[in-house]
Amino acid sequence: MFSFKPDRSQYPAPGPDGKLQIDLETGKYLKLWQGPNHPGITGNMSVELTVCGDEVVEGKTHVGYLHRGFEKLMERRTFIQVFPIVCRVCVPEPDFNEYCYAAAVEDLAGIEAPEYAQWMRTLILEMGRFNSYMMFLGGIGGALGLGITGQWMTYVRDLMLDRFEELTGARIYHMFILPGGVRGHLPEGFEGRMEEVLDTAERYLADIDRVMFSNSVFKTRTKGVGVIDPALFEPYGVTGPNARAGGVAKDLRKDSPYLVYDQLDFEVATATDSDIFARATVRRADVQTSIDLIRQILKKMPKTGPAMAKIPNVLHWKIPRGETYIKGECSRGEYGYYLVTDGTGYPRRINVRGPSYTHAMALLEHLIPGTNISDVAALMVSLHTYPPEIER
């Protein structure tokens, strides 16, 4: 009925080097900085937008506001001293760093973590994944002005953090998975209390279904917006839920089972549209998978057993020369640690492969041109990026 198609003939033409010819002094374009201090940005990063009217013609991601030089600091620490700082690489889901680092060290040092530790690690990772998805579901509502989902989801996340606290003694940085195993056993009555949390979570998620996913305004805002062409998945290194939303059932938990995922029973959720709505629904389904997995793990895991394998004296721990790459499916995609040792007591090089690295940089810059300013925040949240793992 009313069609508001933007007039694209006014757009800047790409020059010979493929870059857009934008002359700010013509007054036709406006530079907008979103971030780092901006409520619509996921964490501490910024997007430099060039807008023409309400349409964005160019977007550049700027990161580095959280750079601490982790990969350098790790080279200066012994293998056990690295362990407390790895979790700081990614704040909202720190456990994956601990697991990847521990598994990489175990791989190179030839240590096998005991079975109980394997189950425990899977439990911790699923709990962390649940927390991360809670942040996402709150964030995507918040980015579109539906603050209530953020309130509910953060509350549920707090409940899960209580269970983390009970298990590990810390709310955010758990430092529970260390090379050789895990730090402890399940406390008495943990299963019952976890079941209460999961029940509450399911109740709140049903509310989210009603308020967010069946809300017509939410659908209007998200359907058909920010579509990633599935042909771009490989060139841009898209993994995890972002790829699953485009119909590609990529999930390392199924494709390349690690820990005890081959003994667990779960389905990989996919969607077809590859837009913001599809990415949100895939994550909503994944939360359910996570809840089911936590229940299964608590039922199937051995009740007792050693939590730690025997590791050498950490003060004299030298690992022979070698290199390895350990990967896993975190809530955002493929998370991996590339560890190189040179036979001394210090790692030669550790490289963290965070999924946000490709999602927030090359992919986001590719997706932003042509969107509305209003959609930039939702688009960024829907890619589920955490800046600390980009710059480390």
């Binding site: 918040g142 209530i148 305004v217």
Partner: protein, 301 residues
Amino acid sequence: MTFEWIQVPYALATLFIILNYGLLMTAVVRKLAARVGGRPGIPVWQNYIDLVKNFALRSKINHGVMYYLGPVFRLSGGIGLILFVPTIYGSSWAQNFSFAGDLVLALYFIFFGTLGMALGAGESGHPHSAIGVSRGLAQVTTAELPMALAVYSLAIQYQTLSITEIVAAQQGGLFNWTLFTNPLAVVAAMFAFVGTMMRSPFDVVLAPQEIPIGPPTEYHSAYLALMQTNRAIFPIAKTIIYMNLFFGGAANWAEFAIKVFLLYMIPAVIGVVHPRFRVEQSIRFFLKWGLPVGILAILTV
């Protein structure tokens, strides 16, 4: 219309009551949103403290004359609206300065604040302000369209442009309200009401996630305090107009408080559970739903 000096303190008293009522209502609405989220929320007197705090800030930065006048225009829009609208029907002192054609003036004042804000925010020079203002003007223009049509419809129905006379015509029972005598006009006007109360799904003007709170981005200290005062007065004043035109007005302060509260809660409740529209989506929404209903209301009178 005769003018008597006693009207001045009377009008100021009305203004004072409405200011306090508005400050409390704003807090109540925020408490409502907090309760839906499961929080206790701010104390109800928080707005007063915020006002005092903002007036008490020591430093202020001025970006120019219009920057200074922006909040002043905005506030005069709110106060002007109150002064020319009869608040309590039949009361000798809460009539304010209402006169035969006050409906037209009221419609003008509804728009006046937005225009003043546009000038002020433009002078502040912040790109987010400029974007917010252009969004705001575009959306308010289309959102007020159904309201204007509904007012025409009422003018035809009651053969007057005086709010007092429209209220008088609605007295004598529930079914004399415009709500029942001209329901289409009420529906059209309610579109405008929800659309201009700055709550979701039509709060793209402020949209913190896109353009950090839009037009007032650069406003601070006493300037912001002026705008906060207006944020308390203006929605109540607007609600009074709607109450007078469509819901039978109020014969005493208790009836006023209840009716305004209920009307005020409509956009608040809708806002809690909805995300926001993009600006062109909300424009489309008003043109698609509000405009035809408004035209129908005129045709069926």
